[in-house]
Symmetry: C2
Subunit: 462 residues, 2 copies
């Protein structure tokens, strides 16, 4: 009788001698080789963010230095890239300044010069929530960004090379002040409205705060007037993985390879905060990626350590798509500006915000007992301890009609932050606050997706 061949130990021995492979890790080296070969060929393209096409947007070039919140030095010169939609009225009284989120360009909607779809395409146009038949809409690339406005990747006139991390730390107020320089340049004295989502909502509030007399209405969608430690934590995690990439090189990577792997990892983390658990469960559940077509149909599936679940391949894909589209230093500086944003009165007092005229003591303007609460405007339950300080900080906004819109499934700018903003504005004496709370599973990204509800609220408010 033949002795049965003991195959398993032989196979195990064989597999022990084969070096395991990890395509998800090899992808970093592959990307690096590709980038290096492009960099070494003289005709190779630079990353898209370093290829401004000034024909597709306008650039306001200021040679008047811009004093900054956190720096003893002014920015000697600066550019602000911008695009517009609709027609400026003769009285110049129909202007909406639209602020972007962290990584967006001025391209909010398609234009003749750039017909590709914008990041708020469905919200801007004739008859749309930002109605170009009625309004003249301006959107800028933010100061610190990399899509045509001055940021860390711009040439420092002092040295002739990119600023890199010689660039000064920015505040949200600095960004808004640069935008008002553009408005001055365009001869626009007053905004019909200041509109923004996410970081754009911070800017929208900051605009009304810096220039109460120049901002007619404020729209704040999924934003906050005070960044929470948990949102700081998520952004810190992103900056950490990015700065740990050796290619980051303390920010001096512009003549070499950018920290593409760090950017990919950072974007993966960010992406987790943009949607919600319920959305992923409905969209991906526990589905795994399809097996290769040549896999035997009844092969038992041995899980890999690289992405297997669709949620993993989704994050991988989002990171990969983003990692060369945006400048790493811009990400670091702008995410830091978001962390630093805090409109409580003591925090504002500690800043040196040029041109700001905070009322000497806002206490006198507080009317906590004069706020009329109703069923639709209930008094805050369990308000945070800093609510009075936030109300004091927001005192300059007491007269400005404000739309606050929040999403219950948002894990980055939580619904509690939307409520505290509303409560603080009302406590500051603002009786023209409109508040909407949206359900749904889209989380923070709702402002990009929900034209019906977000767009409807904006249309009604404007």
């Amino acid at each position: 009788m033949l002795r049965p061949l003991r195959l398993a130990p032989l196979l195990r021995r064989y597999f022990s001698s084969v070096t395991p492979r990890f395509p998800c890790v090899e992808a970093h080296a592959t990307r690096e080789s590709r980038l290096a070969s492009i960099a070494s060929s003289s005709s190779g393209p630079e990353p898209p963010y370093a290829r401004p096409s000034p024909t597709s947007y306008a650039v306001f070039q200021s040679s008047t230095p811009l004093p900054l919140t956190y720096s003893s030095f002014s920015l000697p010169t600066f550019d602000i890239a911008y695009e517009t939609w609709g027609t400026l009225s003769k009285a110049k009284d129909n202007v909406i300044l639209l602020h972007t989120g962290l990584s967006a360009s001025s391209h909010a909607a398609s234009t003749r010069a750039n017909p590709s779809e914008g990041w708020w395409e469905k919200f801007i146009g004739p008859g749309k929530p930002l109605d170009t038949n009625a309004y003249f809409i301006i959107c800028t690339n933010v100061l610190g960004g990399c899509y045509g406005s001055t940021g860390p990747s711009s040439i420092d006139p002092e040295t002739g090379v990119p600023y890199a991390t010689h660039f000064p730390v920015l505040s949200i107020f600095d960004m808004v002040r640069a935008q008002f320089r553009l408005l001055d340049h365009l001869g626009i004295d007053r905004l019909y409205a200041s509109v923004g989502s996410s970081m754009g909502a911070m800017q929208s509030l900051a605009a009304g705060w810096l220039h109460p007399e120049r901002v007619g209405k404020i729209v704040s969608i999924s934003g906050t007037a005070r960044s929470t430690p948990s949102s700081v934590a998520m952004r810190y995690a992103q900056r950490s993985v990015l700065m740990a990439d050796p290619h980051w090189n303390n920010g001096f990577y512009y003549d070499g390879l950018p920290p593409h792997t760090g950017m990919k990892l950072a974007r993966q983390i960010a992406t987790i905060t943009y949607r919600s658990g319920p959305e992923w469960d409905a969209r991906f559940g526990r589905q795994m990626r399809a097996l290769p077509e040549d896999a035997a149909p009844d092969t038992p599936r041995v899980p890999a350590l690289c992405p297997e679940f669709l949620i993993e391949t989704y994050l991988d894909h989002q990171g990969e798509q983003f990692c060369l589209k945006y400048d790493a230093n811009s990400l670091i500086y702008i995410s830091k500006a978001m962390d630093l944003f805090d409109m409580t009165r003591p925090a504002l007092d500690a800043l040196r915000i040029p041109e700001a005229t905070l009322p000497p003591d806002a206490n006198g303007r507080l009317h906590p007992h004069m706020v009329s609460y109703s069923k639709s405007h209930p008094p805050p339950t369990n308000p945070p301890t800093y609510l009075p300080e936030l109300a004091q900080g927001l005192a300059p906004l007491a007269r400005t009609p404000t739309l606050v819109l929040g999403v219950q499934s948002d894990i980055l700018f939580t619904i509690e932050q939307q409520r505290e903003l509303v409560d603080a504005l009302r406590t500051a004496g603002n009786d023209r606050v409109v508040y909407y709370e949206l359900g749904g599973v889209w989380g923070h990204d709702t402002f990009l997706l929900d034209v019906l509800n977000v767009g409807g609220a904006i249309r009604g408010f404007l």
Copy 2:
């Protein structure tokens, strides 16, 4: 008249010539130098996880191969490190098997052999929730771990060097089956209870599922019977940053430097999921680290790109503390096992779980209409679509008294998951499910901190 000296441009020129420094990034290189110098000195210590002190715990060494869920190969031999508290009764009927979370060792409480504090020190002892006057408590280091049990850092008998990523992908069921081999060895036929939190709760459920006749009671604290895509996403982000560290080297780092920077970054991300936003707001708020003592008192604070907020220095510190205490490959394998855990019936059917005897068709055992709902046991509102499949998968647990405890502020194992587990068990016909929902701000870590409520619930249930 003297022309005023224009100092700012000179200063700016000076600062443009100074290379910016980033202590948080330099820390990685400093750590690396320190590790390298230790590694090169012949007497230098290995990382703590590679220094088992077999006098402080017992080791069960099995030379009977362990078949695995996801592998054609068995583990030829394996060790399970364990510690015990209390006295085994003559009838061996007072045994509680305590399961750990991802990164814990068998050292749940101090012992004579190891008097240092354990991770559940306040829960184990005479008169404590796990009362050593009544029970004999066993805690193991999990299979795949690095504190005395066989894992990727163990020597592969086939090659004489550490398995590294030749180690097979594990399931939670494999871990539990290794534990039952230990129970067999100790002559323990039946557990009084199987108790665990977090990943330990998964094991606790898996133990009752594999051996319904050998498990008297089940305690599941802040666990789940089906990992959600959002928890997979958070663990994937951790594995990604770890595997991207060049020192990870496809898992083969045991004769070189471990991926300490990747481990630190991974732990930072993990730490974000262990507490809650409200806790951080109460504990840290927006406070910043203290300035150096020699800083001028009225120096305006220029924010750095490195950690400034206490929430950032907290994450930094947690990452730094952990990065050399645990084996990177163990983290990868065990976190993957958590992702793969899914007790819905179709998922279980797709596995090849050795020794498991899933009832041929659990449908007949489902009594969805026989579940008695009351005010304290309301019917599920908005149950997930997979609830019937989860109930089918949990059918073997239909007769086992089970305590489910969840925390409303837990963002990793959400309260919805606790409710779905309870609903699934009840739908499976289990009318002995006790359910507690805790408030508070401690999030997932509540099980480590809240002796009063978590301990009280356990004591009452046992």
